[in-house]
């Protein structure tokens, strides 16, 4: 019983206009070994672009023009970007790629791929504000490691996306600068805090984007915007250059319009970094090596895969439309051969207060660096403490101030044991319960949020109501596990329905399994079109090549 709110319009995910699908393609040796896979290029925009560029079907300049035009047309409606790169610079980078290809020189595996970066990730050549007045105009002197790796592989950074200030929020309403709108319904939120990054990919303004996930900030907007969001294991991707919110929980995550694209992007940015003491030295497998053609899949390609549906996530308080979409997704997994059962995680509901205690406390410490002295906006004052107090009072928004104050309280002498220490103990319990569940199951599934996108302004004045929306996602951060969210259905709302995402949770460092399962699920899911009408309404070039 798949949720059939939206009548199926297209059968293929990517409407290819009069272009034959290429079945195989040569990959020039490149910096990163992208496996020579034998699946249709249209399962991945990134590989499709690479194919077209290397076979000279399309130039990087033409591709860039197409995306920039669409960005220009959609941006006034959705406001994803805080900073858009100078088009001339972007086109010059595209031209350089075309020139290299003409000269038969190597180009990186992400050559010509337009990527948007969440504005709490440092980029040296453009402003990075973290969505806050306190860093308005700030230009970091370095690139984040994740950004550097993308650039080294040929990606073109198209701009910095909007977010809730310093990652604190679930809607982008806490941004100092603007509110991003959901491309599926402009009166609704895109989710947060990586709302700009999710909406940007959803509206096909860029191919892929980077976000950050501390309590669900990649997964929830992926669900709200109908795109794929991948949160890696804590330690998989370097946090160097990510403005710290809660250091024990933050990760950089990936958005794409397909599971394959997020897998390729994650592979590009993963790996040990000596500049991040919490980054893991583990090998990074090529996530794309598991991909296969939809048509060449056996009839039950996931035979025997043990899937646990987390009972507490389909209980009271969850939208009935979301429940039905998840049940449909579960049925689809069973058709693919999975063995489905319900799993109960005892401590599930404790995760939310534990998360907010830990996150507020760590943020109160991390944000003390914004004092108006070494960078950012400085208030005028004739006394040092007043300088700190005024700069921070003027620079921070309300949500950030409240969380700093709550964190300061939770860490105060006399309260540390009651709050912070207990939250850390709850973290241990949650880690163990997830580990036990993942010993018995290969993956766990749940919704990514208790509802689809809600209206702008609906939860703005009720912090607890907004925090409640994070219930599906925070436990995964506490346990440090990887999770993938991919669109699986729709609920009523907006012009054609609002997308709902399925969350797939894996064991630590098992992103490969998530990407494999997600890819097969996506390729065999029929009857849905996850391109928002806004993209086709603005006209112009088809979103795909």
């Amino acid at each position: 019983m798949l949720s059939t709110i939206q009548p199926p319009r297209y059968l293929s995910r990517f409407p290819l206009r009069g272009r034959t699908k290429s079945r195989s393609f040569h990959i020039l040796s490149s910096a990163q070994p992208v496996t020579k896979t034998c699946f249709a290029a249209d399962q991945s925009q990134i590989l499709s672009i690479r194919d077209s560029l290397l076979n000279r079907h399309l130039s990087a300049v033409e591709l860039t023009h197409s995306y920039l035009d669409r960005l220009k047309q959609t941006e006034p409606h959705i406001n994803c970007f805080l900073h858009v790169s100078d088009p001339d610079k972007v086109l010059k980078q595209a031209q350089d790629i075309d020139d290299k290809i003409k000269r038969n020189e190597e180009v990186g595996p992400l050559a010509g791929v337009l990527v948007a970066i969440k504005d709490n990730i440092c980029t040296a050549d453009m402003p990075s504000t973290g969505g806050s007045y306190i860093l308005e105009g700030y230009r970091p002197p370095f690139d984040a490691t994740a950004v550097k790796r993308l650039k080294d592989l040929g990606a073109i950074v198209v701009g910095k996306t909007n977010l809730d200030e310093f990652g604190m929020g679930s809607t982008t309403e806490a941004s100092a600068f603007k509110v991003t709108a959901n491309p599926w319904d402009l009166s609704r939120v895109p989710g947060g805090s990586s709302g700009g990054s999710a909406a940007s990919v959803s509206a096909r303004q860029c191919v892929v984007s980077l976000g950050s996930d501390t309590g669900g900030s990649v997964r929830q907007p992926a669900s709200f915007c109908g795109v794929v969001g991948l949160k890696p294991t804590y330690g998989r991707v370097s946090r160097f250059g990510l403005m710290a919110y809660a250091s024990s929980l933050d990760v950089i995550g990936c958005f794409g319009s397909s599971v394959a694209d997020t897998g390729i992007l994650l592979h590009a940015i993963s790996g040990h970094d000596s500049l991040d003491a919490t980054s893991s030295k583990r090998e990074v497998p090529d996530f794309t090596s598991q991909f296969t053609y939809a048509s060449s899949l056996k009839s039950r390609p996931l035979e025997g895969l043990r899937v646990g549906l987390i009972r507490e996530t389909v209980d009271a308080g969850v939208d009935s439309g979301v429940k039905s979409a998840i049940e449909g997704a579960a049925a689809h997994l069973e058709q693919l051969g999975c063995v489905l059962k319900e799993v109960s995680l005892l401590s599930f509901s404790l995760g939310l207060p534990a998360y907010y205690i830990l996150a507020s406390s760590e943020s109160s410490s991390n944000l003390s660096r914004y004092d108006g002295v070494r960078y950012g906006n400085q208030a005028s004052s004739d006394e040092l403490n007043a300088l700190y107090e005024e700069s921070r009072a003027k620079g921070f928004g309300s949500e950030v101030k409240m969380r700093i104050l709550m964190g300061t309280y939770a860490l105060s002498a006399g309260y540390y044991d009651a709050y912070y220490k207990r939250a850390q103990q709850v973290r241990t319990i949650i880690r163990k319960s997830f580990k036990a569940a993942l010993d018995e199951n290969d993956i766990l599934i749940s919704p990514a949020a208790p509802s689809a996108a809600y209206k702008i302004g609906e939860k703005k004045n009720d912090p607890l109501a907004m925090y409640a929306g994070d219930i599906m996602t925070v436990n995964v951060n506490l346990a440090g596990l990887p999770a993938l969210v991919l669109p699986c259905g729709f609920v009523e709302g907006g012009a054609v329905g609002l997308p709902v995402g399925l969350q797939i949770i894996g064991a630590a460092f098992d992103e490969e399994k998530l990407v494999k399962v997600g890819h097969i699920f996506e390729q065999t899911l029929e009857g849905y079109n996850f391109v928002p009408p806004l993209v086709t309404d603005v006209g112009g070039a088809s979103p795909e090549l």
Binding site: R139, P140, P141, G235, S248, D276, A277, T278, S279, S280, G317, V318, K341, S344, L346, S349, L352, P353, A354, I357, S364, V373, R374, Q378, D382, L384, N385, A386, L387, E389, R392, A393, S398, K401, M402, I404, L405, Y409, A410, A418, Y419, K421, R422, Q424, Q425, R427, T428, I429, R431, A437, E440, P450, S451, P463, A465, A468, A479, L481, A508, F509
Partner: protein, 142 residues
């Protein structure tokens, strides 16, 4: 939309009666029958002193306007009360976890490295008088 229902407190002190799901080798607890919901209220009262906002603001070096104190106090109070539900949980003998512990020991050699882009670092400083970062005087408050 029932979002408050999600904040319900569960009784964590249930007896470990194994109501096993599936085969005997499955150590999984299906707690459906053992779960006692303590209350649906989000108004769990913390037994500690409520937050003193002006004091906290001073510690956090943020000056708050009176209207902000008025606006924040009830919201912060509500959230801190909600935090209080953790005090009801039995956490004896549970080790606190600093982080998820997925990443292992990755310290690098303690060897200084030159940072190349010093000009950009200096350019970011709001108030710079070569070679000092300039700040106003410090007054010792009593």
């Amino acid at each position: 939309m029932g979002s408050r229902a999600l904040l319900m407190l569960t009784n964590f002190n249930f007896k470990a009666t194994v109501s096993s799901f599936g085969s005997a080798s499955n150590p999984f607890f299906l707690i459906k029958n053992n779960l006692r919901i303590r209350n649906f209220s989000t108004k769990t009262r913390s037994s500690l002193q409520p937050p003193d906002l002006p004091g906290l603001a001073e510690t956090a070096r943020i000056s708050l306007a009176p209207n902000e104190v008025e606006e924040f106090a009830p919201k912060i109070g509500q959230v801190i009360d909600w935090f209080g539900q953790l005090q009801a949980v039995d956490l004896d003998n549970v080790e606190p976890a600093i982080r998820a512990d997925t990443e292992g020991d990755n310290l690098r050699e303690d060897v200084p490295q030159t940072f190349e882009n010093k000009e950009a670092l200096i350019a970011s400083v709001p108030s710079y008088e070569e070679p000092y970062i300039k700040v106003p005087k410090v007054l010792n408050k009593e």
